[in-house]
């Protein structure tokens, strides 16, 4: 099981019950559990949506779309049933935060789903977890069963006359299912091939009904917003970036771990202060600030506030909160190859630019890294990746292309060092060049 870390700069909102045994329903109730749900039941749906809008909560899955606004897109009247779908298919390389929420505070996710359902007029919520997270599925299933047994979920919750159902659903290994339309396909028992938008899920979602899809961390933030107010949550972060965020620090750091820090916390401080800096003998080479699909930042670019807008301004994205720190002993070509190998493996093959693009990038980088690169490969790689951008149904194509382009732009010299049959300068034992 994943162990917990802490740092004095942390502001614990989503993680405030971590390590306190809140997976137990009684303990959760002691720690203000389901109070926000009771409060929400006494509010009008518009008031709930408004509170979330005021909080400036933005999607914690990666895209950073304002959660309250997403909820407001759901039509009030609908002939088809409405749904709330919690995205717990956490699979973005570098990201390991939702795992902690499911493990330590499963009821907060359930409570968030239920509040979202009340806000949009849904009667059913689904919590979708990736199949690899079996022990967490068991924790979630128990939490749901306990809440049903206590009358917290089900018919006439807290005597309000409102009926709500919540179910837990398991995936079976697919990164792409983390994309919202693919997630719905998967829940409907199909291949996780994305749907074209519009229509957006808020209008046409699960089984054709209006559907709100939010990341687990977003939903786990909701009870705190309802209980303490949207303004309070907004005040924790920066303008238009409310609250806190679970940042997953990984790489050769002294104190890697998941830290909850206010939105807008300085990245450099996050690395050198919170995570204790690089391990002895290694130096910083670059930082991937939001999961493997975002652009890399060089050491002179990391003096940046970690919120959606500021990171975008320096040419990358806040993404999923997965801060991957590269040290100077990692070859950028090898890193690029590992990244593209992942996206090639996960591409569903539906859109040709993604299917072919990821495959050719992988083939070229494989040859290149083993010493078979020619000078024109470098521009070809970039050209190939650039031609994938914006040409696919779902963001997987962009997610594969964007980081590769940034590695070439920012570490071009290192690519050139691999040319003319030279072995990778970082390898301990030289690999023979491919003819």
């Amino acid at each position: 099981m994943a162990y917990l870390v802490s740092h004095p700069d942390e502001v614990k909102v989503v993680s405030r019950r971590f390590g306190l045994g809140a997976a137990n329903l009684d303990r959760y109730l002691e720690l203000d559990g389901y109070k926000a749900l009771q409060k929400a039941l006494s509010m009008t749906p518009d008031a709930i949506v408004n509170e979330v809008k005021v909080s400036n909560l933005r999607g914690r899955g990666g895209a950073g779309f304002p959660t309250g606004m997403k909820w407001s897109f759901v039509p009030k009247q609908s002939a088809k049933p409405k749904y709330v779908l919690c995205n717990g298919d956490e699979s973005e390389p570098g990201t390991c935060k939702d795992r902690l929420i499911f493990e330590h505070d499963p009821h907060s996710v359930i409570e968030g789903v239920m509040i979202a359902a009340i806000a949009v007029g849904a009667k059913t919520g689904y919590i979708y977890l990736r199949g690899e997270y079996r022990y967490l599925i068991e924790i979630m299933e128990k939490a749901v069963a306990d809440a049903y047994a206590r009358g917290i979920i089900g018919k006439n919750i807290f005597g309000s006359g409102v009926d709500l159902n919540v179910f837990v659903h398991s995936g079976a290994g697919a990164y792409e299912v983390g994309e919202e339309s693919a997630l719905m396909e998967s829940l409907e028992g199909k291949r996780g091939v994305p749907r074209i938008r519009p229509p957006f899920p808020a209008v046409v979602g699960l089984w054709g009904g209006p559907t709100v899809i939010n990341n687990a961390e977003s939903l786990a933030s909701v009870p705190h917003i309802i209980l303490n107010g949207g303004e309070w949550f907004a005040s924790l972060g920066t303008p238009r970036n409310g609250g806190t965020r679970l940042f997953c620090m990984s790489g050769e750091l002294e104190r890697p771990g998941v830290y909850e820090l206010p939105m807008g916390y300085n990245l450099k401080k996050m690395i050198y202060d919170v995570a204790g800096g690089m391990v002895k003998g290694k130096n910083l080479k670059g930082v991937v600030p939001g999961g493997s699909s975002v652009q890399i930042l060089t050491p002179d670019e990391i003096d940046v506030a970690m919120d959606f807008d500021a990171v975008l301004k320096v040419g990358s994205m806040l993404g999923s909160g997965g801060v991957i720190v590269l040290d100077d002993q990692m070859c950028i070509v090898k890193f690029a190859l590992r990244v593209i190998k992942f996206y090639q493996h996960e591409s569903c093959g539906w859109c040709i630019p993604c299917r072919e693009g990821t495959d050719w990038l992988k083939k070229t980088l494989t040859r290149f890294h083993s010493g078979g690169g020619v000078a024109k490969d470098i521009d070809n790689l970039k050209y190939l990746a650039e031609n994938m951008l914006g040409r696919t149904f779902c963001p997987l194509g962009d997610a594969a292309a964007m980081p590769i382009i940034s590695y070439i732009q920012k570490y071009r010299k290192e690519f050139e060092d691999h040319l003319e049959g030279r072995a990778c300068p970082f390898e301990k034992t030289a690999e023979p060049a491919l003819a």
């Binding site: 390389p93 390991c96 990984s250 991957i324």
Partner: protein, 160 residues
């Protein structure tokens, strides 16, 4: 194929959670696999009937998900993550170590049917890298010694 009581109960409950029967497909196939080792022809036939789909439609779903398999593998599945966060902390060497120690390559099982080895994509253990899963259990902050201990523990358990 006759479901075990556990599977039957899971199916009966789960099918009430969704407006369409086929929604149970992905989780049910995985639970069947966990129980009998693979999504066999019989399992596909059974699930196709229960969800009112063709066998081809069920196979089409199976081929999309990386955890599902139609053939049995070694009883103890060593799934070593080599994605970026683990790569930065030496996952490549650990995967090589597993290969040598178990004498098998990627997606291969040992002849005695005890071990299976797989290089897998990110398992969500990035801050505790390098990491692997042994069946459904996470093993984090991995070292070659920890892997050896896991292999020894399996062997010991199976000898009893």
């Amino acid at each position: 194929m006759k479901f075990s009581d556990q599977l039957e109960q899971r199916f009966t409950t789960m099918v009430t959670h969704y407006p369409t029967k086929r929604s149970v497909l992905v989780p049910m196939l995985l639970y069947i696999q966990d129980e009998i080792g693979a999504v066999t022809d019989e399992a596909i036939h059974e699930m196709a009937q229960r969800t009112e789909l063709t066998e081809l439609e069920v196979r089409n779903v199976i081929s999309y998900y990386s955890m599902m398999r139609t053939h049995k593998i070694g009883k103890y599945n060593f799934q070593v993550c080599t994605n970026v966060s683990c790569l930065l902390r030496g996952a490549d060497d650990l995967f090589e170590h597993c290969k040598k120690k178990l004498g098998v390559g990627h997606k291969q099982s040992t002849p005695d049917g005890l071990f299976h080895l797989e290089e897998v994509e990110c398992i969500g253990a990035c801050s505790w890298a390098p990491a692997m899963m042994l069946n459904y259990d996470f093993h984090e902050n991995l070292t070659a010694q920890k892997i050896d201990a896991l292999i020894d523990a399996v062997k010991k358990k199976e000898q009893q």
